[in-house]
């Protein structure tokens, strides 16, 4: 084991922050986090909309949502990344590598989050919806003030798992040549040539720390009181 060859200041800089101020080259972890967090935010929005559509009783809403969910869940993410990378140029659209990975990751994760949202909504008792309607709230109001706040709490553990998976999935970016954490690690490994165990264990460690941080952060809100105080202000 020659850790001292892997854990040099220069390697850590490339793996984590990069040379932002001189060359503007971001480090691997920054690219991975930007991809992961971007996909998390965008796919939560998409998945939320689709999940609400999926749990609607109108055919015009739930059928398209179901088709989307089935289509995107049953294809490997790598295939979607290739679609996002190879298809846009054909219809005359130029997407950077970063945005095509982000697009694929968002659409893919959106389908899973839609299913989670649907499960969360289904767990809200029917009586609550009816009571809110009886009190004179419109359907959108019922959704916003009665269904979603309760469903969100139910969904939290599943969402946390999905977010961790998105961070893991952002590692596919290296297959189309984006310099994310995996790609930088692979480059360092290729240059040293004799220390594959050390460099990949380092990558494992970084991903592990990031993912555990995400799941612990969401676990904080699994206590009902704290969740209510933070999100609902009650």
């Amino acid at each position: 084991m020659n850790w001292e060859r892997v854990w040099t200041a220069a390697n850590w800089e490339r793996l984590l922050v990069g040379d932002l101020f001189n060359t503007g080259q971001p480090g691997g972890l920054l690219v991975t986090l930007a991809l992961g967090i971007g996909a998390i935010v965008a796919s939560t929005v998409i998945g939320g909309i689709l999940g609400v559509m999926r749990s609607s009783e109108r055919k015009a809403l739930w059928v398209p949502a179901l088709l989307y969910i089935q289509a995107f869940r049953n294809v490997p993410l790598l295939i979607l990344v290739f679609w996002a990378f190879f298809f846009p140029p054909i219809i005359g659209l130029e997407l950077s590598r970063f945005s095509s990975v982000l697009l694929a990751l968002t659409l893919f994760t959106g389908a899973y989050i839609a299913e989670i949202v649907r499960g969360g909504i289904r767990a809200v008792p029917r009586g609550h919806v009816e009571a809110a309607r009886a009190l004179g709230m419109g359907p959108i109001q019922v959704l916003m003030w009665v269904v979603i706040p309760q469903a969100f709490f139910n969904m939290l553990p599943a969402l946390a798992g999905r977010y961790v998976v998105s961070i893991k999935n952002s590692s596919l970016a290296f297959l189309i040549g984006l310099a994310d954490l995996t790609e930088i690690g692979k480059q360092i490994g290729a240059r040293l040539m004799t220390a594959p165990i050390e460099i990949y264990l380092t990558l494992f460690l970084i991903y592990f720390v990031v993912n555990r941080a995400i799941s612990s952060a969401t676990r904080l809100f699994e206590k009902r009181e704290r969740f209510n105080r933070f999100f609902l202000r009650v």
């Binding site: 049953n74 054909i90 490994g189 991903y207 592990f208």
Partner: protein, 241 residues
């Protein structure tokens, strides 16, 4: 936009079919190893040996929290350092890339299956195993004939979604040069510049594979739970899907 699907007749189509065979082979090997690993570690964690607990925890948590593609690269580049020589030579004769991909995928999915198995076993009331022991069954008998069959019934949906996830994740094996379906897409794209046409076909094949697996899983689940009483809630375990 000019897409010409007729280019896929002949050799490119055959390449895709060869890739499909490789994908199926990879899935079958990795799936069987993953089930063995998952069952072993799930039972070990359920038993809760004080000494083995940290090892099992380390394995399950690291395998679940790191990207499968990095695990594939790890085993591909460092198997020669880690494995004992005889094992490495066997792996090399087996087809090194293929072996490394099988190893990595079964270790990755094995961890998820282990968690599912443990959750399934935990959902069986303690009284069941105590009753089995009181009736004179040995430990392995009560595990194999009483507890496990019930646990498996609970976790079949989880196992099925794990199996689909594994089939999808075999596409990552192209990173180390296993010639499966996704690799063939890159190959066709490099040589014919007809990537999108090949990609369409491959997407459809993956979709059919995954839907078939899910369909078979649903049938299996229905078959297994045909005599079951209405169950308590299924254990909430995260799958890698």
């Amino acid at each position: 936009m000019n897409l010409d699907y007729s280019v896929l007749w002949g050799e490119p189509g055959l390449l895709i079919l060869q890739g499909l065979v490789m994908t199926l082979k990879l899935s079958a090997w990795a799936l069987s190893f993953a089930f063995v690993i998952g069952l072993a570690f799930g039972i070990l964690r359920w038993l809760g040996f004080r000494l083995l607990e940290p090892v099992c925890w380390l394995y399950v948590e690291f395998a679940r929290n790191t990207p499968p593609v990095v695990q594939i690269l790890f085993w591909y580049f460092s198997a020669s350092y880690i494995l004992p020589p005889w094992m490495f030579l066997q792996l090399r004769d087996f087809g090194y890339e293929f072996g490394a991909a099988v190893l990595a995928l079964s270790i990755y999915h094995g961890a998820f299956i282990a968690e599912a198995v443990r959750a399934g076993l935990n959902s069986i009331p303690k009284g069941q195993i105590e009753a089995a022991r009181a009736l004179g069954l040995g430990f392995s008998q009560s595990l194999g004939h009483v507890v496990l069959p019930q646990a498996v019934r609970v976790i079949v949906p989880l196992l099925i979604s794990e199996a689909t996830a594994l089939i999808k994740n075999t596409s990552l094996a192209m990173a180390i040069g296993v010639v499966e379906m996704t690799y063939q897409f890159k190959h066709i794209d490099n040589f014919l510049f007809r990537g999108v046409e090949a990609l369409t076909v491959i997407t459809i094949i993956y979709m059919v594979l995954c839907l078939l697996t899910a369909g078979v899983g649903t049938l299996l689940n229905r078959h297994l739970s045909r005599h079951a009483q209405p169950q308590a809630a299924r254990p909430a375990v995260l799958t890698s899907e």
